[in-house]
Amino acid sequence: MALTNDIVKQKLTDKFGEQLTDWEVPYGIMAFRAPAEMNLKVMQFLYDDEELRFRFMTDLTAVHYPDRKGEELCVVYHMHNLTDNIRLRFKIYVPVEKPDVYTASKLFSAANWMERETYDFFGINFIGHPNLIRILNVDEMDYFPMRKEYPMEDPTRRDKDDEMFGR
């Protein structure tokens, strides 16, 4: 029987129970939230399970939500089961003061640079990463530019703000 989102959800809830939350299926890709320290366990289970077989890491990135106190930074993983052709997205949230996340680079070589990029732009500290240094920005940079507190243009410029457009 072909693998469906419901079976994936069932298997994950059987294994991890209530720890996985916020289940939804936006635009066809099932998404859920895992506790920050569980990311590797979830990934390893998705990888090892004979039925799930999510053995391809499509994408790894982060999002900054400055208004969510205690969980400002969100790391997003996109996994793909190429055999059954089904995608999955899961997120973990970490506080901006202590953005520690376990590295996935031991499981997926692809995660190596993607984690470096995420560190470079968001300052996520991937614990256990073999070479966590900046990748696209200059080495001397002392801030993480994709965080929302760094405006792209001159911060005094108001003409491009949303409120100028009736919002």
Binding site: R55, V63, H78, S109, A110, W113, M114, I135, D162
Partner: protein, 417 residues
């Protein structure tokens, strides 16, 4: 003279060990005639053998993801042009489709087929550049100069459709900015008539060429397992023997209506990658033929479809024709609203991917309902697979490292975002 060289005050300071070292450190790049882009590799070589290489990237990083957070959706299309600039129309279409997915738009078949034509043309252009450049790096300049004329012809078709050539900004949300002119179809048919002969000649110059084969076979191989672990997609993954193609796996823009094969390789070396791309060029030609037939069929059945170049439901995203803007109130309002980025997009999270020239180009868009994305992340295939480069070239020859780099089709613009 000798005094000057041994002078300790000399400004070049070498470390103590450097005199005892038996190997050579070679700085290949950032600008080097053999790297076709801004790539730096610091290599440790023993004679001609590469022992270790450390790629440095980011020389042309332009912060597209940050810029995108302050731009209305239609202004992000030009940013996608500059990712993989060898096949920018595919990136443009992928971005339009992401927004269409967010809005839940369904396009008329004619538009989707026209998009397929554009995307396949740019795939041909992309693969032509890559494959002929592999030949250049092995020392054969003739095929390159020969097929580049046909890339030029593809660019002329793009020019006829959208007005620009390399960074195309082609298409709009919900369709195209204007209908295809009869001249663009003439140029397309002319291309389809003349190109296969040239492609055959290109293949007969290289495919079974003893010198070319000896240079490419066995150079820079990667196994299917390692390629998957490294997140390879596109022709590079298929050369390793995995038949994953986004056009088939997550069909978009009506690719499911077309009949085409996915060429695969076996060992994932330079020659396999070269052959897979050649095979894909032929499949693209066949897809374009099929698309033209389908469009003709639609137009014969429903003559009014001839003028359909954008979806009716997407008119709030489509800049009206200039003469309407000057004469009609409604058109003027929409023109103003679109240009000022006043169009609401629903809040939501979308991941959409298309089969780009060198792999799965993904767009991860988080919209909070504002005029700009809250966060936009580009899944850039070559950023992900270029990290396998050291593993692929180590313990090989330096000259193999050069052709491996060109056969991977790493595009600096996409690598550095």
């Amino acid at each position: 003279m000798s005094e000057q060289l041994t002078n300790t005050q000399h400004h070049i300071k070498l470390s103590e060990e450097s005199l005892q070292k038996q190997t050579t450190t070679l700085n290949l790049g950032p600008t080097h005639p053999a790297t076709h882009g801004v790539f730096q590799n610091i290599m440790e070589i023993d004679g001609e053998r590469v022992l270790e290489t450390v790629p440095t990237i980011g020389y042309i990083h332009r912060a597209f993801e940050k810029i995108a957070e302050r731009r209305p959706y239609y202004q992000i299309t030009p940013l996608t042009d500059r990712l993989n600039y060898c096949s920018s129309p595919i990136n443009n279409m992928g971005w339009h489709m992401t927004i269409e997915k967010l809005l839940g738009l369904k396009l008329p078949k004619r538009i989707e087929y026209l998009r397929v034509i554009i995307m396949e043309l740019s795939r041909i252009a992309d693969h032509l550049v890559c494959n002929s450049v592999i030949a250049v790096d092995t020392g054969a300049l003739t095929p390159f100069t020969y097929v580049f004329q046909y890339r030029e012809k593809i660019y002329e078709i793009f020019e006829e459709i959208c007005g620009s050539r390399l960074t195309t900004n082609i298409g709009r949300v919900g369709g195209f900015e204007r209908n295809f002119t009869p001249a663009s179809f003439t140029k397309l048919n002319d291309f389809l008539k003349t190109f296969p002969k040239v492609m055959k000649e290109f293949e007969s110059l290289l495919n079974r060429n003893r010198i070319f084969m000896d240079r490419c076979i066995g150079a820079g191989p990667i196994s299917a397992e390692r390629a998957l672990n490294y997140g390879f997609t596109g022709p590079n993954l298929r050369a390793a023997g995995v038949d994953y193609d986004v056009r088939v796996a997550q069909s978009y823009s009506s690719y499911e209506d077309f009949d085409f094969k996915i060429p695969v390789g076996t060992v994932g070396d330079v020659y396999d990658r070269f052959m897979v791309r050649n095979g894909e060029i032929w499949e693209s030609v066949s897809i374009i033929h099929q698309a033209l037939e389908k469009i003709e069929k639609i137009e014969k059945e429903f003559p009014e479809q001839k003028d359909v170049f954008f979806a009716k439901e997407a008119e709030h995203f489509h800049i009206p024709a200039k003469e309407d803007v000057y004469t009609k109130m409604e058109a003027l309002i929409w023109h103003f609203k679109i240009i000022m980025g006043e169009i609401d997009a629903p809040a939501g999270e979308v991941y959409h991917s298309v089969e780009g020239g060198n792999g799965e180009v993904g767009y991860y868009l988080i919209s909070d309902g504002g005029r700009t994305p809250y966060r936009l992340h580009f899944r850039r295939p070559c950023f992900i697979y270029y990290q396998a480069y050291p593993e692929m070239v180590e313990n090989g020859l330096l000259s193999d490292a050069i052709i491996t780099l060109s056969s991977l089709n790493v595009i600096a613009g996409e690598l550095d975002a």
